[in-house]
Symmetry: C2
Subunit: 423 residues, 2 copies
């Protein structure tokens, strides 16, 4: 894409509010960087538009998550936002879930705006599950969810409308659920690794329910987080605030020495057991013809929140440093000056990269100085910056620099694509 055609410009990088220089309005580093670099636009508190650069990152995150879900046997579907009140009264959550948005439609029909989908997926499964032979299976969706958070804050880390991946698994036995749940923990760590936040993310014990002692949160350490987690100094088990209040000692190794850290929840998984199967009468016939309730698990990842979390964990004083897997483009190609040969070479490289399916943002703007272009490139944070200028062409070369390294090097035009394809 040509940067001259991008309708949303970055906001003045000169007004830097990164690190130590946060203004009162700035809620988090990621909120500040994503807004200034033109990835998101706030429509109102807790509600954002994803602009072209941000939309590309969202799609890349979705694809990482999708691939891992499909590999784990998940079947992708798309469930509705509008959910009938009746299903929420069936589970009793119409009156108890305080973040539930309620809508009244024509004919006094009442709906919930889905904050989660147990109330839809359980009756859906009931239409197709009859025998133990129909189990196990899992379905997932990547979909927009709604929660009426009293305090929406920290940019896209806590919003009223957000993108989420939610997977639901259905089993004939607790053992089968346990096995799948353990597998999903590994899948989740793989996802966070691919998203570039593997090292900062802790599997954290959280409250369970009737059917299991603990559920698990995936908490990423960041000062922008609203959660507090406690990491055992001896065995590195992490527990959330609630568990800490109940357990002065580590539930794993009994040590009472913890580090307290701020964190943001990027995923959570939960053994639902028969909590939703029972009210919806979701059952199957076992080998002996006996009716048994289906055992369920649920597994969430916040897609838009993950985008904010990635930025919290991957930035420097100049801007965002996108991990390669989810960067909006692979290469930021920058032409400098008005020289005809520079323009022609830049244009040619732009076309060749596209032909090779290497995603490229081409800064073809004539009304920006080299300094402005470099500052914006650092702010946007694309992994490779490639400069074409009279100076580099005098050496029959281009300059290439990785966003997370300081050294730039000269490279022959013909070697550029070879190098980028290896990455």
């Amino acid at each position: 894409m040509k940067q001259s055609q991008l309708f949303c410009k970055t906001n003045k990088p000169a007004l830097s509010r990164v690190e130590g220089n946060k203004s009162a309005e700035t809620e988090s580093v990621s909120a500040d960087l994503l807004a200034r670099a033109g990835f998101v636009d706030q429509l109102m508190a807790g509600v954002y538009t994803f602009l072209p650069l941000g939309f590309r990152v969202v799609k890349n995150i979705e694809n990482v998550v999708r691939k891992n879900m499909v590999d784990a046997g998940g079947q992708e579907i798309l469930m509705p936002v509008l959910q009938p009140k009746e299903n929420w009264t069936t589970t009793g959550r119409w009156n108890t879930l305080d973040v539930l948005f309620k809508v009244k439609g024509s004919g006094d029909k009442e709906y919930a705006l889905g904050p989660t989908h147990e109330e839809v997926v359980s009756p859906l499964a009931k239409k197709f599950v009859f025998s133990y032979k129909d189990l196990p299976f899992s379905v997932f969706q990547i979909q927009t969810k709604f929660r009426d958070e009293l305090r929406a804050k920290s940019g896209i880390l806590r919003t009223r409308e957000f993108l989420m991946k939610d997977l639901y698994s259905f089993h004939a036995s607790q053992e089968d659920l346990d096995k799948y749940y353990d597998k999903m923990i590994k899948v989740y760590f793989n996802i966070f690794k691919e998203l570039g936040i593997g090292k900062e993310t802790y599997l954290t014990l959280a409250s369970g329910g009737t059917f299991s002692r603990y559920s698990h949160e995936f908490q990423m350490l960041t000062e922008a987080g609203e959660d507090l987690i406690y990491i055992c100094n001896k065995c590195k088990t992490a527990i959330n605030k609630e568990i800490k209040a109940e357990n002065p000692a580590c539930p794993n190794c009994s040590s009472d020495s913890f580090q307290e850290k701020k964190a943001v929840e990027v995923g959570n998984i939960f053994k639902l057991g028969t909590k939703y199967a029972l009210p919806f009468d979701l059952k199957y016939k076992d080998q002996y013809g006996q009716d048994k309730p289906v055992i369920m698990g649920c597994y969430g990842i916040g897609i838009s929140r993950a985008m904010g979390a990635v930025v919290e964990a991957n930035h420097d004083e100049k801007g965002i440093v996108w991990p390669k897997e989810i960067a909006p483009f692979a290469v930021h190609l920058i032409g400098l000056g008005e020289d005809k040969k520079v323009k022609a070479t830049s244009q040619k490289i732009y076309q060749e990269l596209q032909k090779e399916n290497i995603q490229v943002l081409y800064d073809d703007r004539q009304d920006k100085s080299a300094g402005e272009k470099f500052a914006e490139a650092d702010l946007i944070g694309i992994p490779y910056r490639v400069i074409v200028s009279e100076k580099t062409l005098a050496k029959n070369s281009l300059e290439i620099k990785e966003r997370n390294k300081s050294a730039a090097k000269l490279i022959k035009v013909k070697d550029l694509i070879k190098l980028l394809k290896l990455k």
Copy 2:
């Protein structure tokens, strides 16, 4: 994908309600076929879940539409569902748009659930448009929309929650909008052709507004449609009911001989002019430094509705006949019987097709008869059916049949992939 693992089974094909045999509950052929073949599931009136097969078709339709929008210069973004009441009072539509879903949140904050996005995209553009140099541009999204239709009916043809592509264009002059609008008519016809409903779809004159005499609907002829259109017998211009009431004669050739046809609106485009620019004070400075209001156009296509429309136009008495571009899979591979060699060959072909990136649904089920498998394959409507049986293997062959042709032919195993890759 293995059909044995598909969690949603097709409903009994024996209860055929296709054509001439519709029961009272059946609202349209597409509603019946899509539900029975396991593409969609109705959660409540006008609200549907897309099941794995249906989800794949939705994604394919999205990709056809997306490619055409990007080729036409559209920049993809994602705007919110939740929209502030204030923006809708600014345009006066909070009280006049009767299909608007209204939500009250905490702190008595009121929101609209977006039925369209002029109230979001206009103030968004205002943040980035300053000069004539910032124009023209266009943005689009593929997103879930909400309309509180009094009568939701005909399956996914008219729903309360639906997927839509909406593109908005921004121009410095009426001439520039006119040029873009004419281009978009061609782009739309290309999309409908790619979706397999090109021949049935008519550009239809509809009411304009302050800024243009007519807007344009793209109406697909079908008995399931709720609209009536009038096709001029002389020049083939189509006009909608409203225009017909105002014009007893054809607005193009003055003939008064029309055919009346039932149709469903699959797209519509509209010259908005300054209707939304004015209330949001969306303006630019022209070459002489004068402030001028931005001229806008909007261009919609119903993604989920298109899926229903495609089925209305592409089915026979046995089931759906998907056009290749948007079929859930390219090949339906069916293994027959319990013979070991049949199983091994089927499995091998399944893996080879996957390796070649040919999307395949593999009917590996052991508890279904050949007749049941064929009936389901016809109902689901995948373009190529490939059968592996003792009979075909005796001739060292497979049987291949196109869904829209009656003749099957034998083909050598080694020629199958070659043939499919050519298609």
